[in-house]
């Protein structure tokens, strides 16, 4: 198993590797990716996965492959995203369909928000979420993020959710 960079109660977060390509390819070729990067063919899916891998080389951080503690199978990518051309540093999450509905997205993303502020020393972090992606809106709000309508967005149909510093985020359930 590749060494974990972060661990939570149920999950390991590690750097993605070539073994994660197939799950990623299936995701970006499916309708589940319509709010993200829907890839029109395998060639495009491969190119997108290259960005996921090389983001780590170029930035020193990137999206983590998330797995359970029991095995090394990637269940989705959650982490830190700031490729060339991005406006602000982002906390992103992509969950493969078989891993949905278990709170994994929240558990991994919460650890990544803390890591962004505590370890990467980001001043702020956002999540860009497309109109209509209600599941992602709900996750952002559960994480304590709020829709920052004044922030510059990357496209007209993208909302910018801003993550408060962990010391300032609202108590869970009180929002």
């Amino acid at each position: 198993m590749t060494e974990a960079i972060l661990t939570t109660e149920r999950l390991r977060l590690r750097r993605p590797g070539p073994q994660d390509l197939e799950g990623y390819r299936r995701f970006v070729r499916s309708q589940r990716a319509r709010y993200f990067y829907f890839a029109k063919n395998d060639e495009e899916a491969w190119r997108l996965f290259c960005i996921e891998l090389a983001h780590w080389d170029l930035r020193g951080f990137g999206m983590f492959a998330i797995t359970t503690h029991e095995d090394d199978n990637c269940l989705g990518l959650v982490g830190h995203w700031y490729p060339e051309g991005w406006i602000e540093r982002e906390i992103g999450w992509l969950l493969w369909p078989e891993a949905e509905g278990k709170g994994y997205g929240f558990e991994a993303a919460r650890a990544c928000v803390d890591f962004a502020f505590d370890v990467l020393a980001w001043d702020t972090a956002v999540s860009y979420i497309e109109e209509g992606n209600t599941r992602s809106f709900a996750l952002a709000e559960k994480l304590g993020a709020y829709w920052d309508e004044a922030a510059t967005t990357r496209a007209a149909d993208l909302r910018v959710y801003r993550h408060p510093h962990p010391s300032e985020r609202p108590e869970e359930g009180s929002a």
Binding site: P18, R47, F49, A54, L58
Partner: protein, 171 residues
């Protein structure tokens, strides 16, 4: 300096690293890249560089960064290239403008082709070249490659040059 995988009289060929980003970006944003990795934005050029880097992770080989023997500055990228969607495995070359006119591409491409046949053990290799890229066509011909008009090409304006296999060159 990163470890060289191949060396020639004048050159070192090594795996590309993040330090090679700026030279690649300048190339990809210029008209010199119109036949290959042309990028209409920095974001697009950065994404293309990610493809060059991660190709090594996914395939175990990829374009080499070419440098002088005594300086680690990347002068261009030359080597085996076979991303998802390519019709055939390719020997590709990209030379930054300041390195042109010195026979560097020929010297590096010969070494890379030897690696392709001797180490990677490919059955064959092609180079996809824009039909109006006369310098690249001249290099392909100097390397002994021939325009294969019956091969599947990547676009109408792209020619497929087929490299002689090891046995043909030895003959």
């Amino acid at each position: 300096m990163s470890e060289a995988i191949l060396t020639t009289d004048r050159l070192r060929l090594r795996r590309p690293t993040p330090r090679d980003l700026d030279g690649f970006m300048a190339f990809a944003r210029s008209q010199r890249a119109r036949h290959t990795f042309f990028a209409d934005s920095d974001a697009s050029a950065w994404n293309s560089f990610c493809l060059v880097l991660a190709h090594w992770d996914l395939r175990g080989y990829g374009l080499f960064s070419v440098t002088a023997r005594d300086d680690d500055t990347c002068l261009g990228m030359i080597g085996p290239f076979y991303p998802e969607g390519w019709a055939e495995p390719e020997l590709g070359w990209l030379l930054w403008p300041q390195a042109e006119g010195k026979g560097i591409a020929h010297e590096a491409a010969l070494a890379a082709r030897g690696y392709i046949f001797d180490v990677l053990a490919w059955d064959g290799a092609v180079s996809y070249i824009g039909e109006d890229n006369s310098r690249s066509i001249a290099l392909a011909e100097r390397l002994g490659a021939r325009w294969d008009e019956s091969a599947v090409t990547r676009s109408k304006a792209c020619r497929v040059y087929r490299h002689p296999a090891r046995t043909e060159r030895a003959a």
